[in-house]
Amino acid sequence: MNSPRDILRIATGGSVDDGKSTLIGRLLLDTDCLAEDQLEMARSNLAVTDGLRQERLQGITIDVAYRYFSTSDCRVILADSPGHFEYTRNMITATSTADALLLLVDVTKGLTEQTKRHFYLASLLKVPYLLVCVNKMDLVGFSEGHFYSICKTINFMQRDLSFGKIDFIPISALSGENIARKSSRMPWCKGSSLLGRLAEIPRMQIYQSNQTRAYVQRRVSIQGLDYYQIWLCTGKLKVGNQIKAYPGDEVLTVNSLKNWKFPVTHVSAPAAVLVTFEEHRALERGTLLCKLDDANLPKNTNQLEATVCWMDNAPLRRDSRYKLMHTTNLTDITDLQVCSKVDIDRHIAVACASGVETNDICNMQITLARKIAVDTWQSNRLTGSFVLIDDQTNFTAAAGFITAVK
């Protein structure tokens, strides 16, 4: 009766009506993770993730819903994001921590504008594994030709984009073909079922990196000794490690590591641990801790170049004050320049003639009131990302990916 060994985080994407909710219902059903009362609901329309009244009334998914199911060795945390264009921000939210994105395509309709946008966003977000699920194969008689024609279109589209890994699978979510078991209706399909493919991909990748990155959440001083409650977000930490503390350039030695009251000699990310150092320095919340001998160290800067997705319903306002939240740092922004807007249909940057509105993706130059230590998104998804907070409404107005550091 062991608990699952591992955690896999996946997100879904695709156009409205391409069958995302049906697929999720099917995954829960086939992994035996629907309770009987939920099953009744699932059988009626399989849309088990539409939890809000507005969603049922409109028959669409508005907000990200989280579902949990377990395969033989793994807990899956699934973030279901809506397919409507005006809710693109939700897809970015859902994929921010995902190991894989399941992008649904309705084989009878082909690629819609929305699917193409999600496809491009998946590339922009560097989703480690993109699985294109060509759905509703039952409606085209499980035809190989229809499936490969979709694959061909996507392969043509992706020629100027980059992905960690991209894969294609023909499925029927409604009848359960190729979901938990390999379908006998599509003997021409190479490779295993959808769950079989998910079983093979690396898990919790956002926390996997050779770089050691930890940041201070809180400092507790007891009898002249400083204890730091830190979040090790990537890499490993050992007692005796030489640590560089940013944005200063002090070098410290790890004296002890504890899980609650129990000393440990080393920890791996992700880990909320307690650390003490041999040297006495009053490090502040937001201090970034890195191993001195890491091949790549972060950069101290107050000048960032970033790709930013605008999430607030209110447009970017020139007169408004925004703060930048990065790790556990909240920093004032002194200047924010919009350099260009990303045309997600043509995959190019264009001049930003009008303002920046909800779901716009643009390239920005941000100047901060003080220096912080950052990585690029390319090298670390957790220390290379941030959100912008509107100082007046406190809303999380935008999500940013650091592309370059000056």
Partner: protein, 296 residues
Amino acid sequence: MRLLDYLETESIFILRETAAQCKKPVLLFSGGKDSLVLLRLAEKAFWPEKVPFPIMHIDTGHNFPEVLEFRDKTIARLGLTLIVRRVEDSIFLGRTCDLDGPFPSRNALQTVTLLDAINEFEFDAAIGGARRDEEKSRAKERVFSVRDNQGHWDPQKQRPELWNLYNGRVGEGGHLRVFPLSHWTELDVWRYVQVEELQLPSLYFSHTRDCLIRGRSILPAGPYLGPTVGESITQLSIRFRTVGDMTCSSAVESKATTISEVIHEIMASKSSERSGRVDDQVSDWSMEERKRAGYF
């Protein structure tokens, strides 16, 4: 990484973020299994400090005496401060009133008492043990979930929550609800109780009790629930899956007397944890409506 280790470490991170970003948080505690897990996580998160915020219970007046006793012992053992606010007092002050009909539930009434207490102490964050797997509107709620100055939740105005970045800022008069157990399932909670050897109220284990069978629910007979005319009492061997307000905590037939027997039963069981909850059966949107009004 093992699942429980991951869930634990993530919850600890969230609890520390709450303490670091909010001025005056409070941890909501009922003596139930989820809040006991939450309390253990808080102990771990802040050690060598004591949990740096008070613990609060909203007593509906229809709580199980065993659970209240258990609650007091637990908080005393950890040397923490317990605040209790009572629905009875809110009724007495005319802030709310019992619903019509025989044996009304006071579950929804807690909202008024909770919001009054949050105002009274000027709490800016209330940490709760709710999980996303419990109910469909909860599946959509953020870990740091904003309440406006009326204490209301607006699902359409939720803040995007990305990576490990939790935005803990709230406007004047508003507050946060923080849910560190968002990613846990009922089974995870039980397994954690087992691994951590946490003590639970005896109601969670099989015992013989006078029960009423009402619709799909098995309910404890007594002053708050009846029997009503035409109903008869059945003696059953049961355990409770939730131990909140007596009027809506339904039981399941069970022979499980240990944690591992309970885990076995849950794994074999075919109904979800809240399926017998009377308050969720009122309408398909009961939870969303209660949540919008400021419920836990």
